[in-house]
Amino acid sequence: MMRIVLSAILLVFAWGSASRAEQMKLAVTTSFHNSGLADILLPAILRDTGLDVQLLVVGTGQALRLGRAGDVDAILVHSRADEVEFVARGYGTYRREIMYNDFVFVGPASDPAAIGAAKNATQVMHALALAKLPFVSRGDDSGTHKKELSLWRAAGLDHTEFGAWYRAVGAGMGAALNTGSAMNAYLLSDRASWQNFRNKGDLAILSAGDPALINQYAYIPVNPDLHGHIKANRAARLEIWLTSDSAKTLINDYKISGMTMFTFNARSAD
């Protein structure tokens, strides 16, 4: 018994944590992470700035909570109204737009609800509500979920009155896509997550392009006045890089199966 305990303890302490670059924590949304862009950006950030950015992949709602509690140094999310409120309450110093892509409506390739014929997002929502075919909602207070709810509202529909066809799964983008794929259901997804998703099954993009479907990502440094341990300096350096020309090139050139995924649009802070 002693022998096991000793060898186990040895193994634990032999675990030398190699000296690392300067670390900082950034909460990002599942949709950003599932896009695969992080795998391109993080090595470049480490190379150019020496920052080892640790990603916490959560929904926008949880990212805002982590920022408020000071558990991360900055957040990169996509829900404008919440971001503005977050900054207004003083949890973050300001929001800076970095890039955007768009949301797409995904569903069975045969499109039984005929949303492909709709001219805009409002018509899509009406077609979905009329057809009463399975629709998978993120239901997790994420940026994508909030966008979906705002689309129902804009169409004058109340999602709480929908029947069993409206299925809120309360999960990340990937998990929701898996559920949708298994149920052959309709969903709202950001384009990058969809394009990078490997279990598409019978699903396909059926409707996209309405300006209401723009998906803007913004960077918000957590307010260092509220939390003394926040690495504000590193968060500022990351922001400089994210708005730089090298970031612009990498973001604009990121393609999945030949399709551009994000458009860089950083400007001065608002």
Partner: protein, 250 residues
């Protein structure tokens, strides 16, 4: 994780059987290529769960034994509570540990959130009741055999605990290994308190959840095979080290 050699692009292919086959193939290639990321997260899984195992055993084994020999007023209640805690939902433990170690929580100043240390703490909480419960069950039976002898020898409490623990070490090993099994396969708590950060807190189970989210079932299943294999290797190694098959006992 980047695509591995031997991994077929399966766009539009959704047969469960072929997914399973691809998973086994992915596991094979991961192991053959000894992928660096795989080695890293496997070692971290071991580091976290073995640390939790050592700490939880150091608490749970003596406590379970103590409960078996000691008589006190609310002993039955204590045992019932401990047995109930065996089913502690990891996700709740994760949430509580998160709130305790968040910067705004009581232990926030330590800055342990999203580190392997926080994951170890969560797993200790999850597996200690399990280890203590199983230890208590087997020690109770052993105590029935040893009771008269140890009482007549006029031994102290601590001596009795030590004697029981030594003579019942094989049963205690089973208790510990059950705890290890729960720790190594656990995902709910460590996802919350560890954050699944690449190169910092990602372990096998959280990587499986991540790859499943990306719809890459083959890689997820491949990692699952590695996890199961790891559990088997650790169990075999511990049995070998502790020589349970020696001394004429089976």
């Amino acid at each position: 994780m980047s695509p591995k050699p031997g991994q077929v692009d399966r766009a539009g292919l959704v047969h469960a059987m072929s997914d399973i086959f691809e998973g086994l193939k992915a596991a094979f290639w991961l192991l053959v290529a000894l992928d660096r990321d795989l080695v890293e997260i496997t070692l971290r899984s071991l580091q976290v769960s073995l640390s939790a195992l050592v700490i939880a055993s150091a608490i749970g084994l003596p406590f379970g034994t103590w409960l078996a020999i000691r008589r006190f007023r609310h002993r039955r209640t204590a045992i019932a509570v401990m047995n109930a805690l065996m089913g502690l939902p990891p996700v709740v433990v994760g949430l509580v540990v998160y709130m305790l170690f968040s910067r705004t929580g009581p232990f926030g100043v330590f800055g342990l959130l999203f580190t392997p240390a926080a994951m170890i703490i969560a797993q200790v909480i999850i597996i200690t009741p399990l280890i203590a419960s199983i230890a208590h069950q087997s020690m109770r039976e052993l105590w029935a055999d040893y009771h008269d002898l140890l009482i007549s020898l006029n031994t102290g409490h601590w001596q009795r605990i030590r004697t029981l623990m030594w003579d019942g070490r094989r049963a205690l090993l089973t208790a510990s290994l059950a705890g290890f099994g729960r720790a190594i396969g656990e995902v709910g708590a460590i996802m919350i308190v560890g954050g699944n950060i690449d190169h910092a807190t990602r372990v096998l189970t959280t990587a499986i959840a991540l790859e499943t989210g990306k719809g890459d079932f083959a890689l997820a299943l491949g990692l699952g095979c590695v996890l199961i294999g790891l559990a088997i290797v650790v169990n075999l190694a511990i049995h070998r080290l502790s020589r349970t098959e020696r001394d004429g006992r089976w």
